[in-house]
């Protein structure tokens, strides 16, 4: 917990004792009629930057001079109601285009697919979206619920028996993807799929004395990072997954069916179940599937 020794000094940076105090946040003139809208942002970064003339309100909603002169006659046009996604985003990008995380917005899939800032962000409404989830011990909003509004099947995959702890609040979509745009395909934050996986799973980086080339080239050859019905996020189970590449004879090419499992098809206990099929199949022996530092054939066969 040594990092937490930094917490108090960090907080001390916030105390304006040594400098000008924070000024009283201004109540914009807009709040006279639009109290609810003002209240919804008063405590936010946008609200704190506002002034009595409602400059922050006008930055998004447009010039209100005429409206202030005669509110009933000169009604404001809601720029977000019928605008195109690009027009909506342009409002936010007026101030935020220089933000670091929006550097690749134009290069990303979202900007090309009519996704507007307001599809994910709403500075006025902070209520949590209604989502269907199992019981979790976190009370933080789950990012996947927002992304899942469009990426429905991906959100559904997080419910599968084998999954990253996304709904549990320990992994977010934005841990791997940059929703604001990226140069890497699939808007991954890192430059390749493998580098993305290694950013958390550093034990898989290697390099190993004996490697497994499909592993080194692309983790998603075998795994589905969003969720799977098979353990370890595997697309399929051993032995089937392994046999789809390893077909050169000997025991890899034997068929392994329920005649080799613990219980025979007739319901009787099998007195000699096949160790190449039961439990984890091929991985019972070839456990070092991502690469091995074992010497000689022990390592080459990934059995140590």
């Amino acid at each position: 917990m040594r990092l937490w020794h930094l917490a108090l000094p960090m907080l001390a940076l916030l105390l304006p004792a040594a400098g000008p105090a924070d000024a009283e946040p201004a109540t914009p003139i807009c709040a006279g009629c639009h109290q609810e809208a003002h209240a919804s942002i008063a405590s936010t970064f946008h609200g704190q930057k506002n002034d009595t003339m409602g400059s922050m309100c006008q930055a998004c909603h447009g010039d209100a001079s005429a409206h202030l002169q005669d509110p009933a006659k000169n009604r404001m046009v809601n720029k977000f109601a019928h605008a195109s996604p690009a027009e909506k985003s342009a409002v936010c990008l007026t101030c935020h285009s220089g933000n670091r995380h929006l550097s690749f917005w134009e290069s990303g899939k979202h900007s090309k697919n009519d996704v507007a800032c307001t599809d994910c962000h709403n500075i006025h409404d902070k209520s949590k979206a209604l989502s269907v989830s199992p019981f979790v011990t976190t009370s933080r909003p789950i990012e996947a619920d927002i992304c899942g509004n469009c990426h429905k099947q991906i959100r559904n995959a997080t419910l599968k028996p084998s999954h990253h702890p996304i709904l549990e609040g320990k992994v977010k979509c934005s841990d791997c993807h940059n929703p604001h745009g990226a140069l890497t395909p699939m808007m991954l934050k890192q430059e390749t799929v493998n580098q993305q996986c290694y950013s958390c799973h550093a034990d898989k980086r290697g390099p190993f004395v004996h490697s497994h080339p499909p592993v080194e080239e692309n983790c998603v050859t075998c795994h589905n990072p969003h969720g799977s019905s098979h353990e370890k996020l595997l697309n399929d189970k051993a032995p089937n997954l392994c046999q789809d590449c390893h077909v050169t004879g000997k025991h890899p090419t034997n068929f392994y069916g329920s005649g080799q499992s613990w219980i025979l098809p007739n319901g009787a206990q099998n007195t000699s179940p096949n160790t190449r099929f039961i439990a984890r199949g091929c991985l019972n022996c070839h456990n070092s599937i991502h690469g091995s530092n074992a010497p000689s054939s022990r390592g080459q066969a990934l059995i140590r």
């Binding site: 209604l130 199992p134 009370s139 702890p165 580098q195 590449c245 439990a279 070092s288």
Partner: protein
């Protein structure tokens, strides 16, 4: 986490405004939020509750919540903490001064559980020294075993913005893993020699640091960053008793320490002609791992040791990567958006060329590649309601280190149509076609069908073999009446490995997702969803029992009792349905509920080549292939006593059923002759559970 720093933290938050009030008559820095304390109790009937607690800490105990914010016109902070002192603790402090700096401190913990109430014949399970004396067929004398590790990520970030448009940023974090994870090892060098399940020690530490500096304006951005990452493993080897090899001490090699460094540069230029934004990135990285190689192996049923005769004592692993990406997004004419892009990736494996001369000669094969990828996307808006898209992507990969394929060319094209002609309805249809051409290095192996090398012509790994893929995706969003939203997403993807004879021949995936959400004026909200998915894999394989028979190595030859093909057809079906509602039942009471049912159903059909004589025992299909059913029901209420006091409480029910042919009828020992017994510890075998969870928090708002 030590509670003392946290209590000081919270105290200082409350002290700061008071201190300011003494100095300034109008204290505008407001601190507000909520703190809560309560508890959770769980009752379950699981033989192995690790699946129930896979990533959650549901143990009986105290729950806590801290969500405090500070806001001023110049400074701000957010402090969030939950489950303090529990395995899934999370604390996050963010703050800063607008347009001057911002920072973040966080600590995020989880426990990944794999096995509760397992058993093992080993003493020292979970450590790097696991010993016993085999045979140990009496499992009643085995030792108890739990497998799981704690993972904690502690990090800090600081970004200096006061010199805008220049900025500087540092990030650092440390991820520690402590505990054990499931593992196993064969006992001999033949699959008939049995295997043992082991619990591998996990004492990892990964330290990462990133330093970045850049220049950032609306029109232009460039930055340079350096990343360093160090992975340390306290145990690079695990030694264990091998019962087949005369109770000798065998060694499994665990991930070695590694060091990674990366230099990255980015540049973005906006407002170029034709509304073009040009973006580019380069990276150059190096990964190193030095490891003292094993000089002997356990190699005989009397516990004999055989030297491995490596040509070097230390393996110097080194892999270098370079990437370059560029894209230009433009609006060359009204209603037309385009993007052209290029990606280059190079991997060079410069690790030691290590050779072992005993017990057999093995040589490390380095794996390197070059990938050139380029393409374009174009979207044309015919009118406000209709937009068409078209794109082409080409990926050329050259590889060294794979003996089957050295080059693949992937060509991908997509067509898309989006329609929003009705205010209430948005539809999108997308078709993607992939064609891969692979240069197969064994297409002409072998001279005759009796030559073992002849079989190589038909061994084509699916990850790189020729393939045609057709993918359709349809999305519909419909709002027929106010506050009612309907959604549909359908996908169909088919991969045809057109020239494969052995291995994967075809895979298909179809999925349909439907959802509906409705909200009433009273504030009641409903949402319901349903999903059906089917995934299929078809493959073909060959059994060669008699090399001497003609056509033994030709899958196209007629079947006989010794040499024949067999097919596998795997089908995974998944169903999901769920409903949630949110109901402000009374002025002070809000009720929320969620129910989910998720079912997975897998099966494997196995069949023999036509013409196989009846003397050959046909394979039995596998009826249960990761079959599961999960029912989750959660009901929660929030009662607001006053502006400062509320109570959140609820109940959750979960039931998980599991059936799989690899685990049904599970036993901890598979007896074999001549010490070829296999010993299993129970991991993944009994994940079924039923649980009742009650929880509550009293929250103070200020």
């Amino acid at each position: 986490m030590n509670a003392k720093p946290l209590s000081l933290l919270v105290a200082s938050l409350f002290a700061a405004p008071a201190a300011m009030a003494e100095e300034q008559p109008a204290d505008a820095f407001r601190v507000f939020g909520v703190v809560g304390v309560g508890g959770i109790a769980t009752d379950d009937n699981a033989a192995d509750a690790s699946k129930l607690n896979e990533y959650r800490d549901l143990s009986n105990g105290v729950l806590t919540l801290v969500d405090v914010k500070g806001r001023g016109t110049r400074h701000w902070f957010d402090l969030f903490g939950e489950n303090l002192g529990r395995d899934d603790q999370y604390v996050n402090l963010r703050g800063g001064s607008y347009e001057a700096y911002k920072f973040r401190l966080y600590s995020d913990a989880l426990k990944h559980n794999f096995l509760f109430n397992g058993i093992t014949p080993y003493n020292g399970a979970g450590t790097d020294t696991q010993r016993t004396t085999f045979p140990r067929l009496d499992t009643s004398a085995w030792n108890p075993l739990d497998i799981g590790y704690k993972r904690r990520d502690d990090g800090v970030m600081f970004e200096w913005q006061k010199a805008a448009p220049w900025y500087a940023r540092v990030e650092a974090n440390q991820v520690t893993w402590s505990g054990s994870k499931p593992g196993s090892a064969s006992q001999g060098t033949s699959p008939g020699n049995g295997f043992v399940e082991l619990s591998f020690p996990v004492e990892y530490k990964t330290r990462n640091a990133i330093v970045e500096a850049g220049y950032n304006t609306r029109a232009m951005r460039f930055d340079l960053s350096w990343t360093a990452s160090k992975f340390d493993n306290d145990h690079d080897r695990l030694t264990w008793t091998n019962g087949y090899f005369g109770n000798g001490i065998d060694t499994t090699y665990l991930p070695a320490d590694n060091r990674y460094q990366r230099l990255m540069g980015n540049a973005v230029f906006r407002d170029l002609p034709m509304s073009t934004t040009f973006a580019a990135r380069f990276t150059k990285d190096e990964l190193k791992s030095a490891f003292t190689v094993g000089t002997s192996v356990l190699d005989g049923t009397a516990g004999q040791i055989t030297s491995t005769l490596p040509n070097m004592s230390v393996f110097d692993g080194k892999v270098k990567n370079e990437t370059f990406s560029a894209s230009a997004s433009s609006t060359p004419m009204k209603a037309l958006d385009t993007k052209v892009y290029f990606n280059y990736r190079k991997r060079d494996d410069e690790s030691s060329n290590i050779v072992f001369d005993a017990p057999d000669t093995t040589e490390r094969v380095p794996f390197s590649y070059r990938k050139n990828n380029y393409g374009f996307d174009a979207y044309y808006r015919f009118n406000r309601a209709n937009r068409a898209g078209f794109g082409y992507d080409y990926l050329d990969t050259k590889r060294e280190g794979r003996d089957d394929f050295d080059r693949t060319k992937d060509k991908r094209l997509f067509l898309e149509w989006k329609n929003t002609s009705l205010d209430e309805l948005a539809a999108r249809l997308k078709y993607t076609r992939l064609e891969r051409d692979a240069n197969f290095l064994h297409a002409n192996d072998g001279i005759t069908t009796s030559d073992p090398a002849y079989l190589n012509r038909f061994v084509t790994a699916f990850d790189l073999s020729n393939v045609n893929q057709d993918q359709w995706k349809l999305t519909l969003d419909y709002t027929p009446i106010e506050r009612l939203d309907l959604g549909l997403e359908g996908i169909s993807k088919v991969n045809r490995y057109k020239e494969n004879t052995l291995g994967r021949l075809k895979e298909e995936r179809q999925e349909v997702y439907l959802n509906a959400s409705y909200s009433l004026h009273s504030g009641v909200r409903f949402t319901v969803f349903g999903d059906v998915e089917e995934i299929k894999y078809d493959s073909q394989h060959r059994i060669i029992g008699n090399n001497a028979l003609g056509g033994a190595f030709d899958p196209d030859s007629a079947a006989n009792a010794s040499n024949y093909n067999w097919s596998g057809n795997i089908k995974d079906r998944n169903w999901a349905a769920g409903i949630a509602f949110d109901w402000p039942a009374m002025a002070k009471l809000t009720l929320k509920a969620s129910a989910i049912y998720y079912k997975t159903d897998g099966m494997v059909d196995l069949s023999l080549q036509q013409g196989v004589p009846s003397s050959v025992v046909a394979p039995a299909p596998i009826p249960a292939w990761d079959d599961s059913k999960r029912t989750s029901i959660t009901i929660k209420g929030v009662y607001t006593f006053s502006k400062t006091l509320s109570f959140t409480g609820g109940y959750a029910y979960e039931k998980y059923d599991y059936s799989d042919s690899q685990f049904n009828g599970y036993q901890n020992v598979v007896a074999g002759s001549s010490n070829q017994n296999s010993y299993l510890d129970g991991v993944y075998a009994r994940p079924q559970y039923r649980a009742n969870i009650v929880f509550g928090l009293v929250n103070y708002h200020f």
